[in-house]
Amino acid sequence: MEILNPRVFIVIPAFNESSIIGQVIQSLKKNGYENILVVNDGSSDNTHKIASENGAEVLSHIINRGQGAALRTGIEYLRANYDPDIIVTFDADGQHSHEDIPKLISPIIEEDIDITLGSRFLTNKADTNIPPLRRLVLKAGVLFTNITSNIKLTDTHNGLRALNRRAINSIRLTHRGMEHASEIIEEIAKKKLKYKEVPVQIIYSKYSSQKGQKTSSFIKLGIKILIKKII
């Protein structure tokens, strides 16, 4: 079913991003994305204040619970209060570009896709931009998730995604940390959602590299997912 003039909401989980969050919100606003929800995940800096001053609606966790928990709060809040047609999940550290949002939204509107997932490995330009060790770990993550979920993707830990109403209503996140990225893929398989990978660029700045996931944390992540699967 084609959606005319979809109501698109951007949800941005943020933890101690005061130095960049204003810029991220401004770039989205300048490009016509007015509905922005920042979920401040227990930051100790003034992420809330800056996000609010830049015109985003802000929810604040009183303690830090992780990106998965922040996304869940944001998605549940939007679903209960705005009934959005599409929710785009967007990182707060400046790694994502507003230019990729139309690419994520269009398959949902035109091809009746339930969820689009950004992939940094589908564009040659972005591929060369990835630090070698990060690339190796990401590829291992892709292999791991492909085996555990039986869904073939090229990039499983990319925070840039778009969900239609069916995906918003059916995906249930229980992992509160970075494991949520794998959980979303498992949910796609379980709920039989129609998905599509879309090439997106990831901007690896000095800031985003410092803020992003540590390479070593991917191993812990794998262990957590396995334990959760067993128990």
Binding site: N40, N46, S52, V58, S60, H61, I62, A69
Partner: protein
């Protein structure tokens, strides 16, 4: 000497379980579980020949081996129970945190940081 130390430790552990039952942080089933466990340990420590008989009944050579095997199985089970409990508390904490943030936002008492 070792028997005396273990005896005191078992009595101490059993009294802790009883006190926790008295202040209602342990239910009757859990108290029964701990009391049975400590009683078995006490019997095995005070009468090692009993554990040997039991071991040969189960096809294990020495009584001490069956004690170790049982201990490992119980520890695994307790770690499993603990993991489930911690995971459930963790999930409840996440839900509570989310609900507080929504409530604060709705009532306009946001954390301004």
């Amino acid at each position: 000497m070792l028997k005396i130390i273990i005896l005191f430790f078992v009595l101490f552990a059993a009294s802790r379980a009883y006190l926790r039952f008295k202040d209602k942080s342990l239910n009757a089933r859990a108290l029964a579980f701990w009391m049975i466990l400590w009683t078995i340990i006490l019997v095995f420590v005070l009468h090692p020949q009993f554990s040997d008989n039991f071991a040969s009944f189960l096809g294990v050579q020495r009584g001490v081996d069956i004690a170790f095997l049982t201990a490992v199985v119980i520890l695994f089970y307790l770690v499993f129970r603990l993991y489930i409990k911690v995971d459930s508390v963790d999930q409840n904490l996440t839900k509570l945190n989310a609900n507080i943030s929504k409530w604060m936002h709705k009532n306009n008492i946001d954390n301004k940081k």
